[in-house]
């Protein structure tokens, strides 16, 4: 059946393409990580060389740990990311359930309205958001960031999840209703476990832009106690002098937590992306 797919030439070609892409994608990360361990002179002299006994230098990491409260920045980023993720998934799934499960007037309209946010960048509303946060006294709090990121992540979450929810068997939900399960239990115990791959997909797509965002932390929460890791790393980039050791060390460290989160979700993610394609 799959003779053609297993021919060696095709297989080699496919792997060559995939390997090339992997190298291109990983190269910047690789350069950041190796240079983080080198002395300033070595970074500029041989940017692509691996650190050796001569060039190995921990000064970047030392600066990062000395300067500012980097542990606090990590914690802030983590709180904001995990908090936003939690609310995006919870509210997104609930809205998606309502849209896909219940027939009511304006169902399609509400769905379209919620999906509209995918096309309109939330940054257009920055000034209004800032005014809102000032008025409600939320400036320089992590709450402000969680609220903004939840709003930013919801449209895509609702859009993807409602599509997946429609595929969950009606019979299963109805069996639950006949057995006397409440709508909440049907949602949490029957439907959510079945769309776990979709949830993981949404989680990854939501998580990475939040972790990497510089814009809203800079505008809404630039105080020392609420700085996120991305904003915290900026102190090493100056107009005239940039402490490359520190910048690269900070970026290397910033990769770690998000990598861990990604690994948690990725097993589910692959199933989510291919769901429906392969039955």
């Amino acid at each position: 059946m799959s003779v053609s797919r297993h021919s060696p030439a095709r297989s080699v070609a496919a792997h060559a393409v995939l390997l090339t892409y992997t190298l291109i994608a990983l190269f910047p990360v690789f350069v950041i990580v190796i240079n983080a361990f080198k002395s300033r002179k070595a970074i500029f002299a041989h940017p692509l060389a691996l650190p050796n006994a001569e060039t190995l230098d921990w000064v970047g990491f030392k600066t990062v740990l000395k300067q500012g409260d980097f542990f606090q920045y990590f914690l802030n980023s983590m709180t904001v990311t995990v908090g936003s993720l939690f609310f995006v998934l919870l509210f997104g799934a609930m809205a998606a359930f309502a849209l896909s499960e219940y027939r009511f007037k304006g169902n399609t309209l509400v769905g379209l309205y919620l999906a509209l946010g995918i096309m309109i960048p939330i940054r257009l509303g920055t000034v209004a958001i800032l005014q809102l946060m000032v008025a409600s006294g939320l400036v320089n709090t992590l709450t402000a960031l969680v609220l903004v990121y939840t709003a930013q992540g919801l449209p895509l979450a609702v859009f993807i999840l409602s599509e997946f929810m429609r595929q969950v068997s009606d019979d299963l939900k109805n069996a639950g209703r006949i057995d006397g399960l409440s709508e909440y239990r049907i949602f949490f115990r029957l439907v959510l476990p079945l769309i776990r791959p979709a949830m993981a997909t949404v989680a990854v797509f939501t998580m990475i832009p939040i972790w990497n965002d510089l814009w809203f932390p800079l505008i809404l929460a630039p105080a020392e106690s609420t700085k996120t890791i991305t904003l915290g790393s900026q102190v090493f980039i100056g107009q005239f002098v940039t402490d490359w050791n520190a910048v690269l060390a900070a970026l290397s460290l910033a990769i770690l937590p998000v990598l861990v989160l990604y690994l948690i979700f990725s097993r589910q993610l692959i199933r989510g992306i291919t769901a429906g394609a392969v039955k």
Binding site: S169, R177, I178
Partner: protein
């Protein structure tokens, strides 16, 4: 315990009317089958009885009590679904016991009811497995067991055999018939397969386009159909409809079942040519093209040596033919 009365049930989806005024009584202990082509509204009607859909109009009574506004779990019904709909995260035992547990029965009561149902369906060996570890036939037995555990007033079956292969379908059909005899419970069963309807039902309700065409015992529908739709739907292979004008001119069409058409090489009422022969061992189906009637089916017992393209004559068994008027209604 458990009779069901539907009076004047209607259901609209938007502007589309899918159920157009259904009146029906199902007696206590009766096995009632809704049968009809896909899209005739039989599943919707079942979901209205279950309370999974609201009726747009009319009354539903179970044991004389109106249940229009009663949620499904309070109607004392149990339902078996086409796709089994077992809870994937629970074991067979928990799947079967969940309904009772939700209703507030004690753990001992739940265990006892599950044991009784699993004994009836020989599910004992499977009780600690999860649905993913079961075959299709086993899953459907568990789904039936889940319904039995609740000792409902009314069993509802929504095409429960459609996902099973042919051999399992026959076995499960016999199993359901046996359960009906043992439990003496009221059952409402939806299917598009008239064989299931004929073999299981005490009472068949033939539905078409949201309306009840005829209600009756299987043999009554077979021997005494009210209209051409019922005559064509019940019985397999399908009834032949001859053009009355080419016969004796009374009515519009004459319905003759394939087993009531005699075939001969020498003489007969209708001349035709054989277009196909199906030999099934116990019977032979002969398809004859005869103008102006079209393709007619003849059913002969045993093996018959007719060949394609042979010229033959057909003769209807006149007393067993049905006459229908232009509107498809039976002329008696």
């Amino acid at each position: 315990m458990g009779n069901l009365t539907l009076s004047n049930i209607t259901k609209n989806f938007g502007t589309v009317e899918v159920i157009k005024g259904v009146n029906l009584t199902v007696e206590d202990g009766e096995f009632c089958v809704f049968v009809g082509p896909s899209g005739c509204g039989k599943s919707t009607l079942l979901r209205i009885i279950a309370g999974l859909e609201d009726a747009s109009g009319g009354d539903i009574k179970i044991d004389g009590v109106p249940v229009n506004n009663t949620p499904p779990s309070k109607r004392e019904i149990a339902m078996v679904f086409q796709s089994y709909a077992l809870y994937p995260h629970l074991t067979v035992r928990d799947n079967m016991g969940l309904g009772l547990k939700q209703a507030g029965s004690s753990a001992a009561q739940v265990a006892e009811s599950v044991a009784r149902a699993s004994g009836m369906l020989s599910l004992d060996a499977l009780l600690d497995r999860r649905p993913a570890e079961l075959s299709g036939g086993q899953r459907q037995r568990v789904a039936i067991g889940r319904a039995i555990v609740r000792t409902p007033k009314l069993f509802l079956f929504d095409e429960p055999l459609s996902n099973l292969d042919a051999a399992l379908r026959v076995n499960t059909r016999i199993e359901i018939a046996r359960l009906h005899r043992e439990l003496k419970a009221t059952m409402v069963y939806v299917t598009h397969d008239q064989v299931e309807a004929m073999t299981l039902a005490d009472k068949i309700v033939v539905l078409n386009a949201g309306r009840v065409e005829q209600v009756g015992r299987p043999m009554d529908l077979y021997n005494d159909p009210d209209n051409a739709f019922v005559a064509g739907f019940i019985g397999s292979p399908k009834m032949n409809f001859l053009k009355a004008q080419a016969m004796d001119g009374q009515g519009e069409t004459v319905g003759v079942r394939p087993e009531h058409l005699a075939i001969s090489r020498d003489a007969g009422v209708i001349a035709g040519r054989i277009s196909h022969v199906e030999k099934l061992g116990s019977e032979t189906l002969i398809y004859v093209r005869a103008e102006p009637h079209g393709l007619l089916t003849v059913r002969q017992f045993g093996e018959q040596d007719f060949v394609v393209d042979e010229a033959v004559y057909l003769t209807p068994d006149a007393p067993r033919a049905f006459r229908f008027d232009a509107g498809g209604l039976r002329m008696r």
